[in-house]
Each structure stands twice: as structure tokens, then as C-alpha cells.
Symmetry: C2
């Protein structure tokens, strides 16, 4: 589970300051698949980064489970993310010098945890990267890079996965296979998923949609249908 | 106008070689808006890069207007792109040290051409970046960066625009405004646009859709409707 309490994030100061998050209070219950939608620039990526402790709030609090992320130091946040969080970045953030497979296994290596090889094989199969595993990011298509990022986030079977527009560069068949897998991970393994998306069809895989505009939560829809 | 004749592109060699384009012959008539669709990894970005002379073919030819791109040297290709081509990259390729506005004006500066200030103001208005112009890419949201890339490609009013998934990170309203503007540029100014997209709704703005799979053209649809 994860939640934000009166979370505010202001970039810059004075005349050019941007209120990216404006006193956002929202919770993402354990074992639920929540989608976050809203216009470009409305604060979705900022919210996700702050929830995962990748960015600091100007004021307010963020929790993962019972741990107050905003009260941890850098070391504490790094350890928390390593042990409990998977993150799919909007711009992937793959390591250019590692192969696709090395990128996917990286969270396990960093946490010095053994891979659940069966789980890993399943993820790699779902994202359909079989024959591209030995290639580096520059030798992969945009959608293949996005799939590496998705597989990496799921590799260590984290308690919570934050996904920033995970299907934006995928054709609808690939995208739905990955979303279906995420839905299964939530229903069968109790994983918590918080996914930012612009696509209403992707959002329909979630249990609930939260709508953001100008850094504020403006609406919520339970069990959306398309 | 642009066309490819028996265009083949093979990455690597031997056992690990990838036939990204397999004898592709296709033309993109002047003053038309053509969409290219196909599964992730099917060769769409490769085709676009080869059409613009950003990447070399293994065999076959590519033309922009009557000029055979594949027969030019690096200097010739650079000059051709500078004077006639706009390109929206799947990963944007913005200059991190320049502001949004400087990035948008870059093609004009490189071509030492005066901006059509009215056209530029119109583009900036359509892509909705008004208050973010003085910010650098790292201070922009994913969708805002994509919009800077789109504005930059249109800034010099090029004869032909190659757009690689230009609306993937945009909400549907923003996306449709940009697509509507592109459609107007084609109808009113005779611009040629070749757009890769995964989204059927985006494809419906085009005059014709070309379908790619495993590096080959497999189908074509005139005036698609959704
Ligand atoms: N430098 C490279 N070396 C080896 N293989 C490459 C290289 N660049 C691309 N490829 C491969 O060529 C194939 C086509 O890539 P391309 O980027 O054209 O696909 P695409 O249709 O644009 O996919 P997407 O929809 O995911 O963006 C892919 O299988 C990709 O892995
Ligand atoms: N480092 C920064 N400095 C200044 N402003 C920033 C910075 N990072 C983000 N912003 C601004 O904060 C606002 C919210 O950005 P954010 O990335 O959260 O939007 P988003 O909802 O994810 O948009 P998109 O759908 O385009 O990805 C935007 O207006 C953006 O320009
Ligand atoms: Mg974002
Ligand atoms: Mg591509």
C-alpha cells in the first residue's frame, strides 16, 4: 500500500515557480490496481516519483506500508525502494552498457536476492523479448526498451509497482498482454500497482481511476469500463 | 514526396543478425498524410530513419523528391535534411542544455533561415507550451518534451515531416489538437507527413495507412475510419 497526505511539490521559486502537486491526499490500497490519468503536465510523474521517494516533497507526507518515506534519509529510501518497490520510468532509464537481460536482473543483483527463475521466465515470456535479451538498449526498438523497463520493475516481485505510462510505445496487443499480466499479479499475488496512463483502454484494466489536473486530485472512478 | 525501393536493412551479421527491413517498396506522395502501423519491433522506426537518410540501407534505394538519398554523402544528406526535412524522434532527442524555445528554433538557426514568426507562434500555441518555453528538457514533463520535439520538427515548415509516434505520451485532447494541426498543414500548405503510430485514433487523421510486420509491408488502407 502507498499513500500521500497533503503532498505539495513546488519547483523553482518566485515568478517562475511551478506548483506541480497541490496538497494531494490519496491512498493506494494493498492488492489493488489503481490508474492515474490527467492532462500532460498535470503532475502525474511528479506524484509517482514522490510516492517512491525518488523526489522530495515541498510539504506533506508519503507512506509505503507503515513507513513514512518522507522521514527517511537517502540511504533509508534507497533500501526501501530496493526491497519493496518496482518502478517503470516514462523514459525507461535503462543502463546503456548492460544487455536487456542484465537490465532486467539488475534489481535482484542490487538487492543481492536470488531470482525466482520461474517468475522471471514468465515475465520475459509475457513481454516477448526472448530473442532480444542479449542486446543493449541502443539495439532495441522503442517498444522493446519499454518492455525491458516493465520486466525489470516486476523482476523482484516487489510489494508495489509504480508504472509511468508503461504501454505508450506498444501496439495494442502487446500492451494488453502486459496489462493482463499486471492484473493477474494483483489478483493472484496481492501485488499493488499504481499506473499512470493516458489511454482509457489501459485504464480499464484497473480497479479504480484517480484523475489529476493542475496538481490536484479532481475525481475518482471505481471499476472503470470502456 | 518520399519513397523507398527494395529497401533492406540488416543489423549485425551471422546468427544474431536482424532483418529490420526486408525489401520494402513504398511511396509517400506529396501533400498526403500517411500513417505507418505495425507491431513493436516490426521496423517502423528503422524505415523512418532510412527514409530521412539518418541510417544507411544494406541494399535498395531511398528518395526525397527526385533526390536519391542513398547516393548522397554525409554532407549532402545533412544539407538535404536541414533544408527539407522535419523529424520527430520516438525518444525526442532534445538538446538538454537549450531551453524549449531554443530547441524549437534550432532547425532555423542551423539552416540560417529567418523564422516565419507567425507560423512559429501558431505552432507554439497549438502544442500548448506557452509558459514552459524558458525551461530546459529536464524541467519538462514527458508529454511537454514530446510537444517540444513536435514543434521543432514543424518550425522550419519543411517539405516533409517524419513523425515517430508523436502523440504516445499525450492525453487525447492534446494529441488530437496536434494531429488536427498536422492535417491542416497537409491540406492547406501541401506539406507531406509520414507518421508512425500505434494508436488507431491517431491513424484516422491520415489519408492512408501502411501496415508493417517483420520488416515487410503487408497491407494498405485508404482513408481509414475508426
Ligand atoms: N542497432 C541495432 N542493432 C541490432 N538490432 C537492432 C538495432 N536497431 C534496431 N534493431 C532491431 O530491429 C528491429 C526493428 O526495430 P525498429 O526500431 O525499427 O522497430 P519499431 O517498429 O519502431 O518498434 P517500436 O514500435 O517498438 O518502436 C527490432 O527487432 C530491433 O530490436
Ligand atoms: N525539474 C523541474 N523544474 C521545473 N518544473 C518542472 C520540473 N519537473 C517537472 N516540472 C513541471 O511540473 C509539472 C508537472 O510535471 P509532471 O512531469 O509531473 O507532469 P505529467 O502529468 O507527468 O505530464 P505528462 O503526461 O506530460 O508526462 C509540469 O508543468 C512540468 O513542466
Ligand atoms: Mg509524466
Ligand atoms: Mg519505433
Amino acid at each position: 500500500a502507498s499513500r500521500a497526505v497533503a503532498a505539495t511539490k513546488i519547483y523553482g521559486s518566485g515568478e517562475t515557480s511551478v506548483r506541480a502537486l497541490d496538497s494531494v491526499t490519496v491512498s493506494f490500497p494493498s492488492g489493488e490496481f489503481t490508474a492515474i490519468m490527467g492532462p500532460s503536465g498535470s503532475g502525474k510523474s511528479t506524484l509517482l516519483h514522490c510516492l517512491a521517494g525518488l523526489d522530495d516533497l515541498t510539504s506533506g507526507q508519503v507512506f509505503i506500508g507503515d513507513v513514512e518515506v518522507t522521514a527517511l534519509d537517502e540511504k533509508g529510501k534507497t533500501r526501501l525502494r530496493r526491497d519493496q518497490v518496482g518502478f517503470i520510468f516514462q523514459s525507461y532509464n535503462l543502463v546503456p552498457t548492460l544487455t536487456a537481460e542484465e537490465n532486467i536482473r539488475l534489481p535482484l543483483d542490487l538487492a543481492r536476492r536470488d531470482a525466482d527463475e520461474e517468475w522471471l521466465a514468465k515475465i520475459i515470456d509475457i513481454v516477448g523479448l526472448g530473442d532480444r535479451l542479449t542486446h543493449r538498449p541502443t539495439e532495441l526498438s522503442g517498444g522493446q526498451q519499454q518492455r525491458v523497463a516493465a520486466a525489470r520493475a516486476m523482476a523482484s516481485k516487489p510489494d508495489i509497482v509504480f508504472a509511468d505510462e508503461p504501454t505508450g510505445n506498444l501496439d495494442s496487443r502487446r500492451g494488453s498482454e502486459i496489462l493482463e499480466f499486471m492484473r493477474t499479479a494483483v489478483k493472484d499475488f496481492g501485488q499493488t500497482i499504481v499506473m499512470v496512463t493516458h489511454d482509457p483502454i489501459s485504464a480499464s484494466y484497473s480497479d479504480r481511476v484517480v484523475l489529476l489536473a493542475d496538481g490536484q486530485i479532481v475525481d475518482e472512478v471505481r471499476q472503470p469500463t470502456v
